[in-house]
Amino acid sequence: MDALIDKVIHTDESIKSGSIEVLTFQIDTMRFAVDLEEIYELIELDQANQRECQTTRFEEEFMFGNITVNYIAPKVLLRKSAVSSGVLIDQACEICQVSIDRIRPLPGLVKLFNPTRIWGTTLIDQEIFFLIDLQ
């Protein structure tokens, strides 16, 4: 509940400041971005194993269908809402500021099929990034 309140307060602040700070990463050829406020920590896979974190592969959690992903530089994102639970991501790239003005909803046709927890898109250096909800 506290995490949810944190998130709501953050969202209000983000909207006021007009931007959110995101971590970008890549899975296969797809680019993703997640709000830093949803992340507790970004750690190596070995560290996650040592801490006995419950880790799921990104493509399984986000239901990619039958795409097999070969991870190049895997890392584990620990969620703020459940610090012992993580998601395996690949090619974590950079932390950047995304202006709310540059966030676009998913096109209606794509939204119809409700891709799991992708809540929007943004353009960073003319590349499309999917904004995801880690919670």
């Binding site: 797809m30 269908g65 096109p107 209606g108 099929f113 409700n114 891709p115």
Partner: protein, 170 residues
Amino acid sequence: MPSKKKSQEILEAIEEKQSETVANKNQTTIKLVIFTILNSYYAFRGESIKEILPAAKINRVPGVPNFILGIINVRGDIESVININNFLGLAERGTGTEKNIIIAEGEGVRSGILVGSVEDVMDFPENSIQPPLSSLNDKIKQFVIGETDYKEQSVTVLNVREIFKNILAN
């Protein structure tokens, strides 16, 4: 009997031509956007088409059906792109040489459609559109308005609204 004056013949010819033009103007025409898919001609009615774009990098979207190829950036806005091949009973994958994306709207849906290349946008007399071939199977026939001719080849006129309706229903 004296022959008609040359001037009179000319005037009559002009009059005849003008009356033909009036008749043509009264004939209902429809605008068709003609394009290719796998070397065959297809067309959409112009009123459903919002934009014709050169093919751009399509970004795959996880967790959506195969006919949604992905999304594209159109001047900072995001549009979906679909592959209509499987609606038309064609090979699911194109040749990889697709040159255009047609942005279409209908039934409250707006999406890009990947095609080989857009060949022409032109007016056709409505009565030049013949009913679909009876040999077409029912699955495809539901998306076909009719057939017409372009450059001495058959053009299948598709109903993009029916394609979108089918997507919504499933």
